[in-house]
Symmetry: C2
Subunit: 422 residues, 2 copies
Amino acid sequence: MWPSHYALEDRREGQLARRESVQSGPGSQALIVDLIRSAGTISRTELTEATGLTQPSISNIVRRLIEDGLVRETGRAAPRGGKPRTLLEINASAKYGVGIQLGFESITLVATDVRGGVVGRQLVDGAGSATPEQVTDRLVTLYRGFVAGVGLAAPSIAGVAVVAPGPIAQLGGVLLGPPTLVRWDDFPLQQALQESLDVPVVVDNDAAAAAVGEFWSRQVSRTESFACVYMGTGIGAGMVLGGALYRGSSSNAGELGHISIEVDGVPCHCGNRGCLERYAAPAAVMAAAEASRDRLDGLGLGFAPETLSRDFDQLARAAVSGHEAALDLIRFSADRVAAASVTLANLLDLDRLVLAGPGMAVAGSLYARAIRERLEQRFFARRAHPIVVELSANPRDAAAIGAASLVLQGTIAPGHGPALTR
Amino acid sequence: MWPSHYALEDRREGQLARRESVQSGPGSQALIVDLIRSAGTISRTELTEATGLTQPSISNIVRRLIEDGLVRETGRAAPRGGKPRTLLEINASAKYGVGIQLGFESITLVATDVRGGVVGRQLVDGAGSATPEQVTDRLVTLYRGFVAGVGLAAPSIAGVAVVAPGPIAQLGGVLLGPPTLVRWDDFPLQQALQESLDVPVVVDNDAAAAAVGEFWSRQVSRTESFACVYMGTGIGAGMVLGGALYRGSSSNAGELGHISIEVDGVPCHCGNRGCLERYAAPAAVMAAAEASRDRLDGLGLGFAPETLSRDFDQLARAAVSGHEAALDLIRFSADRVAAASVTLANLLDLDRLVLAGPGMAVAGSLYARAIRERLEQRFFARRAHPIVVELSANPRDAAAIGAASLVLQGTIAPGHGPALTR
């Protein structure tokens, strides 16, 4: 289906108009914070112009933000005809968010300030085969040690977000293959942590958190159609559409790993056939590697569930340095991720795609290249507009950093998730 | 990736809260109209409760709507403790929208009232191989004759929307195979029509228009994740997410026909491989039918580009009445559309999928059944929530009716597209 060029122009104007119409609730506070943050410094007059809100509304919101310590006044702008205007800026150290990426093999804690800067990071052993109760106790201890070590004062901590691929408290009962957190079925992690911690606790999906983090830290425009492809144990996508994290009906949106790339392909535990994960996720790549292990001698691969991430990183490292057999395996995976990325781009008419997750940490550039090449040839709207493919600056910690961003955004506009509110 | 059940609960509350936070601009007018329309009759007090807007805001908006004739007062509600409240209802005949579905083989004109009721319909020969200028002249004549015939007074006509699959004014230059409007490359249809008509003219994509029409006429909740799969010559999807038509970066979102269902499948004119359209669209089905034409004797199939729609309908009719060879062909197509629908549902975590378009007019129930069955077995979030699959009440005219809805919505909240504004 081809759109009309002319209708499109109308719409573009409509989009701009829409962008400036602001919610009357906490959403406008979030937008104000977002505008100040992306501008660096900005005056109240400029905020009025940028939002279409009335001057009294802007004054009220700004006063509240200054009282809360999130925004501060900083000098005056050179007069532009009229009288000089006081400039506003974000008070980066007003609040901190803590993000915890919970995995089988590792747990990462990060703290970020309001500008998204990482002020602390800690990497420890994963949940492994410990019980959920044991892991919860460990997380509480870890959290306390971490915030003390980074030196965050309790009142400045906005909250903590724990992110995981699941199947923590999964909705169904279908289990992802090991190594993963199979014992966490229906365990109320949020509740258990909240009982021990006196800051707000949220639990979220890693791909969604990474998308929010990348959207936030890259200062992506709210009008962009944005997605983050996240490869950890599985493959997921987070989507920020019209400035809002898109979650779908039950927060199950973005299941990129479970879209079929082969209509009659291999069966998947999810019920579908030909799922991307079955061809491209680390477990699939290592299964293929094991089948041709004679070509991979000397790479020190363990071929065991508990060494999956390490093995995949090792294979990726060999691929990046030109090892032919390793390159074949990674390229096969990258081509499949690229095929699914074209599907995602064609359905959502994306402007930007960012790659993140531990699976992208070593050979992310190979994946980015494969996706770029395929989009150049196959993206439906390629003649209408470019699509930018970028690699996360920190693929391994992207979900933890995104989690911390989620918490901060929740604080800035309570109950909404500011820049990301519909 | 599995989401957290617990995070989900928080989010669900957030969603409800969000639903009630209303834009301060024309968006609130649109929401008010939407609430009145879906309630049948409603009081100002109930509108205040439902939106969270202040009483003075509600009074202002309602006064404006009454002045514009879109809403009227109608009797009083039985007192509920307090004093009786005046009820409001939509004045269905205040405005009419005209939708024109422009096709190679046929042109359909419809007029709808504010409630979405069809008040007039006309079917005439399509654009065929006439020049765009000739077709534009014909459309102007057709439009004038149609509104005169239906008896619509000029001031009550909100505007006219022309919808087509393209490649009218396509952005690229890639052509869809015949039979289609190949000569319309870069023709400024909106502008050409606007010069001759004194009502607002818009041009839009058929699948997007159909989605808007189905969303509107079914009174789907704004919190639902909603898509319309539209099969005409090609296959497209319109998506209404968070109450807003999702268009993507360049209005090219929803290219369901050009998602790959076979990673190494047959090449498509769009540049991609294994595109759904190459297996499931009417032209693909008829190509397969021609290859086994000995099994289809007696169905009177023409196997020519200019008889494609008629042939496909004929084959679909035979399939519906149990003709084995015809059934095999339609089932193959339906299974492929179902596979792509699972992809769409998994990426967007859909609540509802509606099938529309001329391609669904005869055998739509076979497509709906195939999609339902596949979703039951393969939809990722199937244990979290149901997904409803419905057939348009009027698949053939769905885009024209949707176009008329688009116009009306544009009138109710100028420059925004009310129920569909982000």
